[in-house]
Each structure stands twice: as C-alpha cells, then as structure tokens.
C-alpha cells in the first residue's frame, strides 16, 4: 500500500513541475530581471532607480522615461526596490546603492523621514539624490521633481467633481491612498479649501476613506461608500489604485449612471471607464516624462551643470515646451500641470 | 492434562504444545489448552506467567515457535492481526484504541461500514446496525455521539460491539476490568454472559480471582510460561487457585533487618474526590511500607498527592513532625520527598539527555545557586550516585536512551538519591526490568532503608512487596482495607484484603474504613 502510494506521489509531483513551467512561460518576463548586474566600476553615469515598490506599474511607467533619458545620455540604470511600499524595506537598497558608489539615486520615498538619514549618508558619499513622485525630507535630496503643481491638482479635483455632479450639487466622497500618504493629503487639503469657495457650495464632502493603495482594501472601501451613502454623486480618488478600484466597484454595482468616478488614474486603466461613462473625466501628469526629467536632472547634477540651489534654471529638450525650468523653494522642480483625460484624448496612452 | 469438564460442546479453539521464546527468555513452554463454544474460560497467572503472550499469539501479533493451533478442529496458522480478525477472533484490550472525535457508531464500523449507492457510507445503515448491536447487548448508548467523553468502560463496550460487528466466534478479553468500577464490571459481565449464551467462546484474562469465579465456567492457570491446571471453577476454591498461581519461591535479595527510627511521614484522613479517601498511615526512618492493591485502587494517586503533583481535597500530611502542604513537586523535593514514577519514559527520564544531565535535573538549582552549570561538578555528583548503584555505562556522558531498562531505572533512582530525600516513594520500581536488575534494585532499596530513609514501595508484584516490606498497606477502591505487619503478611492475606474481604485480625490503622463489598480481587500485574 505505502509503496504504491509513494510511487503515485512521485508521479503527481512530476506532473506538478511540468504544469508549473506552463504557467511561467504563459506570462511576462520580469522587467526587473532585465536590468541584471551592471556593477562594473562607474566610469559612465550609473544611476540607481529606487521606486516605492517594484510591483506598482506607476513606477514601471516612470522607468520607461528614465530609461529613455539614460539611452539618450548614455548612462546606466539599476532598478532596485522592495516589493512592498515600506520604508524599512527601502533603506537597505539606499545603503547598498551608496556602497556601489552609483553617481546618482532617483528615489520615490516610502516615508519622507524614514529614508532621510540613509539618503544623507549617500549625499555625504558624493552621490546626487533626485527625489520624484514622493518627496524625501527636505535636505535629504539635491532636487525634488514634483510631478505636478500641487495647488493645481487640488483645484482640478474640485472642478472635475463639480463637472460630474449634476448641476454641481450633491454628496461627494474621497477614496485616498494610505492615510499617511504625503501627496494625497496635500491634494485633499487643497481640494477642501477649493470646495469652501462659493462656486462649490452645493457639493457636500461626506466622507474620506483610505484604501492604502491596495486593490483589495480600496475595493472594500469603495463598496462601503456606495452602501453607506445611497445618493452619493461622485467618488474622487486622487490615486491610480483607488480610482481604478472605485470605477470597477461602481461599474459592477451597475451605478455608472448615478455615481461618477474621477481623480488621478492611468489612461491604460481608465480608458474603458471613460468610454462607458463611469469616469468621463480624470487627470494625470505624464508619468514617463516625470521619469525622463528626473534622469535629466540627475545627469545635470552629476555633471555639475546645476547644483540644486533655488533659482537655478535649465532647459530639457522636449519638455515644458522647451522653456526653461526654474528650481524653486526647497529645490523643487515642477514637471508641469496635470492634464485632463476625457473622450477627446482617448488615444493618449501610457 | 485438561481435566474432564461439565461443558458438553466441542472445542472451538485448541492449542497443542505451544512454545514461544523471546531471545533467551522462554515466554511459553509447551502449553496446551482448549476453548469451547459457549463457554467463558478464565486465564489467570502472575506477572510473566505468559498470559499476554498467549493472547498475542491468538491475536496474530506473535507466531508460536512450535505447537499447533486448531480452529474448529482444523489446524490453522494465524499470520497477522488482520488474519486473526478474519478468522473470527476478536481481542478487547485493557485500553481500547478508538477515535475520540468520531461517533460511537463509526468507531464500531470503522473500516467496514455499510456502504450505500456510489460507495458512500450509508450512515443510516451504520447507525441502525450499531443501534441493533447495542440492542443485542441491551446497552443504550447514543451511537451518534463522539467517543470523547465516554468512560473507559463504555469504550470497552464499543470494542465489544466492534467484535460483534465482525461477528467473532472467539472473544478475548485481556484484563478488561483492570480500570473499571465494580458497577461497570457487573455490567460488562452481564454482556459477556449474553455473548456466551449466543455460543461465542470467551477467553477472560484477569487477575481478579473472584471475577474468575463469578464469571467463568472453567479456568486455566499459567505459571512461568507453563500450563499448570485447567479445571471447572465450580471444583476450585480461591485458596487452591492462588496456590496454583504463586506456588513458587522467588529468589529475591533477602531484606536486611534494620532498627526503626522515629516517624518521618504521617498521613491522616487523606482524601481526593473520586479517587481515594480516609487514607492514613505512617512511615518511620528505616521502614519500608509496601503498598499493595489493584490498578485503580488509588496507590499511585496517593503518591502523586504526597509529591505535590496533585492537590488533596482533605486530610493532613505531617513530615518530621510539621504539617506540610506541597503546591508542586519542587516544594515536596525541598521538604525531602522523592518520587520514582511509574512511567519511566514519560515521567522518569529525559531520553535526549545524558546520564549526568538526567541525574542532576531535579537538583540543578540547589547544585548551582549561581545559575552557571559547572559540568565538572555535575559529573562528580552523577558519578557518585551512579557508581553507588553500579549503573553499567561507558560514562555519565552516555545518553540514557542507550541503556538497558534496568540501568535506566537505576539512573532514575540515582537521580532521586542525588536529591538527598528523607522519604522515598517507589512506584513499580521493578516493572519490566530483567530478574538480575530486579534483584539489584531490591538490594539497593533495603540498603537505602538501612541508611535511615523512609520508603514507600508501590508494587503490583506481590512476592516483591512481601519480601521487601516491613508493613504492607493494602488499598482497595481508594480505601485502606488492611495494614499487615511483616510477620503476619502472607500472599493470601494480602490478596483477600485487596479484594476487600479482610481476614478478621488485620486491623486497618485509625481512620481507615473496612468495606465488606466483594468486588474485584486477587493479584494484579
């Protein structure tokens, strides 16, 4: 009995392995695997690209821009990063990049203070630090590339909500990322101040919930919103994960007509919802450009063309209509205004 | 060999000249006996008489070295347990092997449940069949309830029902009453008699002679692996039966007479609900007090309370003139009590440890007050005590699991001697160890007594108790039924007391109660 069963087990086991191979072949090769060990001495520009986490496609999109720039300027990019957006997981990568003496680090901080000490160490070691997307603490970077004019986003969000709510009236709710997320909180605050103005007096912000940029949590939260506020008009989700979850929930609940979704999202994700009217209007900045600009700045910093001091100016071909960028307070550079996606520009796609 | 008997029926099982050896030891030598359809046949004998070996042979666990087995007159080889079962032989063990989480019905039919369409188990059928079975036994059990929570007795009934479900022709009960209360025993008997009347041949292995008389039509006595006699119980008296059983003198190390000191330990009206009560006795320095009685009579339970493992519900314990109450074993240890437990592997030794580590385990805190273990000191202590008991070993760093049973037991003894006790409680100190080691252990025990320790010797080996003890305390169903001084102690006396029927002149000590009811009795192994 035992012997026979043993035989069977082995047989099954081998089947297991085969079927397994089937799966991996049926799927994408990991992009991060593509960037394998380029750790020869950094004669050419070697830049460490350190996103919040390596599974979020937002950063994959940004990296396409980084790679583009690197290609043009003949530099090397090492992508490293945790598979969870957690600061304690991000720090070792900073220290390792420091050890590797990369010329520059392009980072989206998982926690502005958490990563600061490590980044300062890196800067001490003569490495240029460019923050993008989510800022490290001031002083822990040479330049921070802000994806968008923050106050602008606040206004935009309010405007879109107003536009989608029938005659700019009714209940609206916000589905944000983590309650700790610096960007989202800034935008939400600005949005609130905007809502306070007379034009929006009939919009009632009933609730703000947090989906932690996690598909599951965001979905649950969105569902709860629909249940909790039967006559909700608009869900504003200033996060790519949140807006997608919200749109799906609304669509699946068959409420695409009564409840609208807006916020910041990927055309790649949102296209179908623009088409079916669940989310006619939303916005985002050009993420690849964000990566592109970040690398350009890193390059300039390393080559000493700029130092990151407030008031310095520089131009990047193909961006900002070839007009010069000016480094602002706290060495912040602003990519540009968010742009609006709707039926008119369904073809714009990244 | 077999004397002619009343029962008219032909033998359903017959054993001819069965012999079985384990390595050097002869377990059974040229045993012949027969078992008839519709009879209850008692099989009695002391420790090592060979009863269990015979049972195991019938159950197919062992194959005889020589001799033949006949079933209904046909020579049969029993290849294994399964085969034995298929031949219609069912064995009910002292401790049933059931699945606590499964229902009664399922335990009865596990493996051979009636299956309905699609080969799925037909629970209705199973349930009905089980109810029918218990109906036949005239027992009302909720066959739908899980076995967990059922008493040992009820579990045995399930085992019996199981054997019925396999419609066994031969039912072997291996010491089924050892852990049953009088009432449960009575119920069991009622059922066994019913089976007998339905033509099943029952082999009833027991130490309780009165049960044998009460239940069996015939009885067979084994001694030292040999068949002594088979006879109708009606033609026997208890006294004769006992003589058949213990008709030998065991060559034990003679006890050295030692002067008694003052009273070390005194126990008054000790009680634990549902286990024992009104237990009172005293132990003097240099005295060996033997505890005789059946399994479940409460001997071990008393010891556990004395050692602080269990808490008493009533009574007083006086140690060296001061009243004591032990919250845990370490408290008892510090007060100078040591307890060599019954189960060497689960309670006596840490098998992964070396001899030294085992010996010093109880006294580590005392030995190394500054926490750090100095292995030199540890070895010294271990050497000292193991040499005293001359444990056969390569050194104290040897792992205990590589020692023989006897030497392991000596290590446990050494461990407790190392704790320097005033009173030493020995629970079945010689169970399962070879004669040689047995004699040594006996020598050690009397030496210890001679050195002024008070010793309580719990043993089911009656000759041992008789040889070693200055006084024998007999427990029966949780009460002291006799307190017999050495000079008056005989096997018969002790045995009668253990059955609750005390010969007139053995007055129990104060606080003990005499109970007249005669249920269960005889020796225990």
């Amino acid at each position: 009995m035992e012997r026979r069963s043993t035989g069977r087990l082995i047989a099954l086991a081998s089947v297991a392995v085969l079927a397994f191979a089937a799966c991996s072949s049926g799927s994408t090769p990991s992009p991060s695997a593509a960037t394998a060990a380029p750790t020869t001495a950094p004669a050419a520009l070697t830049v460490g690209y350190l996103p919040k986490d390596i599974v979020n496609q937002y950063f994959a999109a940004a990296k396409t821009g980084v790679d583009k720039a690197a290609g043009e300027l003949g530099g090397k990019v090492i992508q490293v990063g945790p598979n969870e957006a957690k600061a304690d997981l991000q720090i070792p990568f900073i220290t390792d990049l420091t050890t590797q003496k990369v010329s520059a680090i392009i980072i989206s901080a998982d926690g502005k203070d958490e990563v600061a000490p490590a980044l300062k160490e890196a800067m001490k070691a003569g490495i240029k630090v460019v923050g993008f997307d989510s800022s490290p603490a001031v002083g822990a970077y040479d330049v921070f590339v802000n994806q968008v004019d923050f106050s602008g986003v606040g206004v935009n969000l309010a405007d879109w909500a107003c536009e989608l709510a029938p005659s700019c009236t009714g209940e609206i709710a916000i589905l944000s990322a983590a309650a700790t997320a610096t960007n989202q909180n800034a935008w939400i605050d600005l949005m609130k101040t905007t809502l306070a103005t007379d034009k929006y007096k009939n919009l009632k912000l009933v609730d703000t919930v947090y989906g932690d940029d996690d598909a599951t949590k965001s979905t649950t939260q969105a569902q709860a919103l629909l249940t909790k506020y039967p006559n909700l008009k608009v869900i504003v989700a200033p996060t790519t994960v949140g807006i997608l979850a919200a749109a799906q929930v609304v669509k699946q609940a068959g409420k695409s007509d009564s409840v609208k979704v807006t916020g910041l999202g990927f055309p790649h994700d949102m296209k179908p919802f623009v088409e079916d009217g669940t989310s006619p209007v939303y916005g985002l900045w050009n993420v690849p450009d964000l990566g592109y600009l970040s690398y350009q700045i890193a390059d300039k910093l390393v080559k000493g063309e700029i130092t990151g001091k407030e008031g310095e100016t520089f131009t990047v071909k193909g961006l900002n209509g070839d007009k010069p960028y000016t480094i602002g307070k706290d060495s912040v550079v602003i990519l540009g205004p968010a742009f609006r996606f709707d039926k008119t520009n369904l073809d714009v796609y990244f | 060999m077999t004397t002619p008997v009343v029962a008219p029926t032909a033998p359903s099982v017959e054993l001819r000249g069965i012999s079985k050896h384990f390595a050097a030891t002869a377990a059974l030598t040229d045993v012949s006996m027969d078992l008839r359809a519709g009879e209850i046949h008692g099989l009695v004998g002391e420790n090592g008489a060979g009863k269990s070996t015979l049972v195991k042979i019938l159950a197919g666990v062992h194959q005889p070295d020589s001799g033949t087995i006949l079933l209904d007159g046909e020579t049969t080889q029993i290849h294994g347990p399964a085969h034995s079962r298929s031949l219609g032989i069912a064995v009910v063990h002292q401790e049933p092997r059931l699945f606590p989480d499964l229902t009664v019905a399922e335990n009865v039919f596990i493996g051979h449940a009636p299956s309905g369409r699609l080969g799925t188990i037909d629970w209705g059928g199973t349930r009905r069949a089980a109810e029918a079975l218990f109906g036949e036994l005239d027992v009302q059990v909720d066959v739908g309830a899980p076995v967990r929570g059922l008493s040992m007795a009820d579990q045995q009934l399930i085992e019996i029902a199981k054997s019925l479900s396999l419609d066994a022709r031969v039912l072997i009960l291996d010491e089924p009453t050892a852990s049953l209360s009088a009432h449960e025993v009575e119920r069991l008997f009622t059922i066994v008699r019913r089976l007998r009347d339905r033509g099943v041949s029952v082999l009833f292995v027991s130490h309780r002679l009165d049960e044998v008389f009460d239940l069996c039509d015939r009885a067979t006595v084994f001694r030292d692996g040999r068949h002594v006699v088979t006879t109708a119980t009606s033609e026997l008296t208890t006294a004769e039966l006992v003589r058949h059983m213990v008709g030998r003198t065991v060559s034990l190390f003679p006890k050295v007479e030692t002067p008694m000191g003052d009273i070390l330990l005194e126990v008054r009206d000790l009680a634990k609900v549902g286990v024992f009560r009104d237990v009172g006795f005293s132990v003097r320095a240099g005295e060996i007090v033997g505890f005789a009685g059946l399994v479940g009579a409460g001997r071990t339970e008393v010891a556990r309370v004395l050692f602080g493992i269990d808490q008493r519900d009533g009574g007083e314990i006086w140690l060296g003139g001061t009243q004591v109450n032990f919250a845990n074993p370490s408290a008892a240890m510090h007060a100078g009590i040591a307890y060599l437990p019954e189960d060497r592997h689960q309670e006596g030794l840490v098998l992964g440890f070396s001899i030294a580590q085992n010996v010093t385990l109880p006294i580590l805190p005392r030995l190394f007050p500054r926490l750090l273990i100095r292995s030199s000191a540890e070895r010294k202590v271990a050497d000292e005590h193991t040499e005293r008991l001359n444990v056969r070993m390569t050194g104290v760093d040897q792992l205990v699991e590589s020692l023989s049973g006897g030497n392991q037991q000596k290590v446990v003894l050494a461990k407790w001697l190392a704790s320097g006790p005033r009173v030493l409680i020995l629970d079945e100190p010689t169970r399962g160890i070879d004669i040689g080691a047995k004699v040594e252990v006996h020598r050690i025990i009397s030496e210890l007594a001679a050195s002024g320790l008070g010793i309580i010797l719990i043993s089911s080996d009656l000759p041992e108790v008789l040889a070693m003890s200055d006084r024998i305390l007999v427990l029966h169903e949780g009460r002291v039924t006799a307190d017999i001084p050495r000079d008056r102690a005989t096997q018969e006396r002790v045995m009668f007391a253990a059955t609750g029927s005390v010969a007139g002149d053995d007055h129990p000590t104060a606080g003990t109660q005499f109970t007249g009811d005669v249920t269960g009795g005889g020796l225990d192994g």
């Binding site: 249940t227 | 606590p100 493996g111």
Partner: protein
C-alpha cells in the same frame, strides 16, 4: 436488576458530557446566532447593513475566503497546516489574469488552468510534507515565500487591468442566480461537496481518523501519508478556486494580490471551530467562520467605527473561539473523570 443497571449506567454516564459535546458540535449554530444578533444591532445604527445589496457584497467577498478556508480546514483536520494558501491564491490569480490578457487561453480554459495550477502547488506542499517528511508548518512557511517569490518573478511590475480581461469575465462577482450571488453559490457547492466527501466517503473518514488518533489509524492500516497528501492537494485546488474568484472580484491583478490573506483564512478555520490539533471540525464551520469575520469587517465600517479596530477585534474573536473550544473539551473530560472509581 442487572439489565436495568446496564441501561441506567450508560444513560446516566453520558448526560453531562453529552450536552456539552453537543454545544461543542454546534459551533455553526452559535456563529449564525451571533451573526443574526450582530446584524440586528448594526442595522439599528446603519440601516444599509441589512440591505440585500450590502449583504450580497459582503457574502461574495467572504465566499472567496470561505473557499480557501474549506481547503485549510481539511488540512488542519489531518493535524497539519498550510500557510502557503495566500501565495497559491496570488500566483493562480496572476497566472489566470495574464494568460487571459495575452489571449493565450479563453476564459474556460484559463479557469481550468488556474485550478490545475492550484492543485499542482498543493501537491508540491503534499510531497514536501509526506515524502520529504518536513513538518507542515515549516514546509508551507517555505513554500509561502517560494510561491510568492515566483509570483513576483512572473509578474514583475506588470499589472493586469480590468480592461485586460475578456469582457464579462468579472461579471460573476456581481451577478446572482435566484437572488443568491454566484460566489456564494460557488462557496456553497464547495462546502456541500466537501462535507459529503468528508462525511460519507472512506477517504473522508480517514481524514478524521488520521487527525484524531494517528496510532489507531496506523493499526487499522490507513495510508496516512496518502491521506495527508490528498488533503494538501485539495487545499491547493480550493486555493486555486479562491484565486480565480479573486480575479473576478478585483479585476486588477498584480504580483502582490492576496497578500496577507492567510491570516484571515486560518482565523476563519479557528473561529469555525476546527480543532487546530486535528480530528474534529466541519467545513461548514470553517466557511461560516469566514462569513462571520467578513460580517464584522463590514459592520465596523458601516457603524463608522474606524477600521483600525478590525484587527484588534479579529484577535479577540480568535482568542475567544479557541478558549471556548478548550473550555468545553475540559468540561467534557472532567465530566468523565468524575464518573471514575469512588
């Protein structure tokens, strides 16, 4: 006299242990009862709680966990545990999503593939535990990080969006038949089939036997290793089902999908009254456990009690459940002990 004595004893002997063990066996009922009461209380402050739409949403979400919990329960009943379920779910979810996005397979084929993959991953656990003799907790702790690692490896930073899935693929997540959400039906089917198998087949009883008393099982010649292997395989298969449901529920799938789910699954099993040391428990219990936890989560949000309380309440629920089990068991045993010699 003897006769009556007989019947009397057994009858008397059981009564006390009996109702206690009955309570023990009625975990399902008590869970339902609590949920009803809870539902009533919540709906006072949050009327939407008891609306069909809400209930079906909650039930659908819970059904995913329930399916996985059923698999887990089978493994736990055999005195093992499978910590790798969430990784299995995640990997299956992504593989199914990706083959759909790349049109490698059509929906039915993809689903079959997903279930197959789950089965295979379960078998891998089974082999490691039974053939390589690695304690289940260690083995599945290992495969947890291996499967998850493979998931990341396969997925990278790619995310399969809803748009990547064939139209209508996610419909089952909201559709219902005769008012019963499809997910709930799936869970029901799984529970029913599983329960029938466990209750009425040779294998099913062997599962309990192996967990309840391994020695006795060995004596009866039950092929323990084969039973355990099968249990792990089934657990993998059901994790696969859960993974597919996950795709339908959330539409967007990446390498991190289903992270952290194992806690809810094991919690559901424990709350469902399955003994962590094997031998007892029902699949219905495990499923109800999942539903119960789902209800609490939803109720908290609706009552407006911050979701931060959720974790703490989960913890308390688990502790209460396990203490209750132990308490009842102990009472039963004491009830027995008190019938010993006196």
């Amino acid at each position: 006299m003897a006769e009556s004595g007989v019947t009397a004893t057994v009858g008397a002997a059981r009564t006390r242990g009996q109702w206690l063990s009955m309570v023990a066996r009625q975990r399902e009922l008590s869970l339902v009862a609590i949920m009803v009461v809870l539902g009533g209380l919540v709906s006072i402050s949050a009327p939407q709680f008891l609306t069909p739409s809400n209930l079906s949403q909650v039930a659908s979400l819970a059904s995913i966990i329930a399916v996985a919990a059923v698999g887990q329960a089978i493994v736990v009943i055999t005195r093992n545990i499978d910590l790798s379920v969430e990784a299995t779910m995640g990997l299956v979810a992504y593989c199914v999503a990706i083959v759909l996005e790349r049109h490698a397979l059509d929906a039915p084929a993809a689903i079959t593939f997903g279930l197959g993959l789950g089965l295979v991953l379960g078998m891998i656990n089974g082999v490691i535990v039974t053939l390589l003799r690695v304690p289940a907790i260690v083995a599945t702790l290992g495969t947890l990080s291996i499967f998850r690692g493979v998931d990341y490896l396969v997925a990278g930073s790619h995310q399969v969006p809803l748009a990547g899935l064939p139209p209508g693929f996610t419909d089952p997540a909201r559709d219902s038949i005769l008012g019963i959400p499809i997910f709930v039906l799936v869970a029901l089917v799984v529970v029913v089939i599983g329960s029938v198998v466990l209750r009425s087949t040779r294998f099913g009883r062997q599962v309990y036997a192996v967990g309840s008393n391994p020695e006795a099982a060995a004596v009866l010649g039950i092929p323990s290793r084969l039973v355990v292997f099968t249990a792990f395989s089934v657990c993998g298969l059901l994790s696969g089902v859960a993974g597919v449901l996950w795709v339908m529920q959330f539409g967007t799938i990446n390498g991190t999908s289903a992270t952290g789910v194992v806690l809810s699954v094991v919690a559901a099993v424990v709350v469902g009254g399955v003994a962590i040391f094997g031998g007892s428990g029902t699949l219905a219990g495990a499923a109800l456990g999942a539903l119960f936890l789902g209800f609490i989560a939803n109720a908290l949000i609706l009552v407006g009690l911050s979701q931060f309380w959720l974790q703490a309440i989960y913890g308390v629920v688990i502790l209460v459940a396990v203490s209750a089990d132990a308490l009842i068991l102990r009472r039963i045993q004491r009830a027995t002990a008190e019938r010993r010699v006196r």
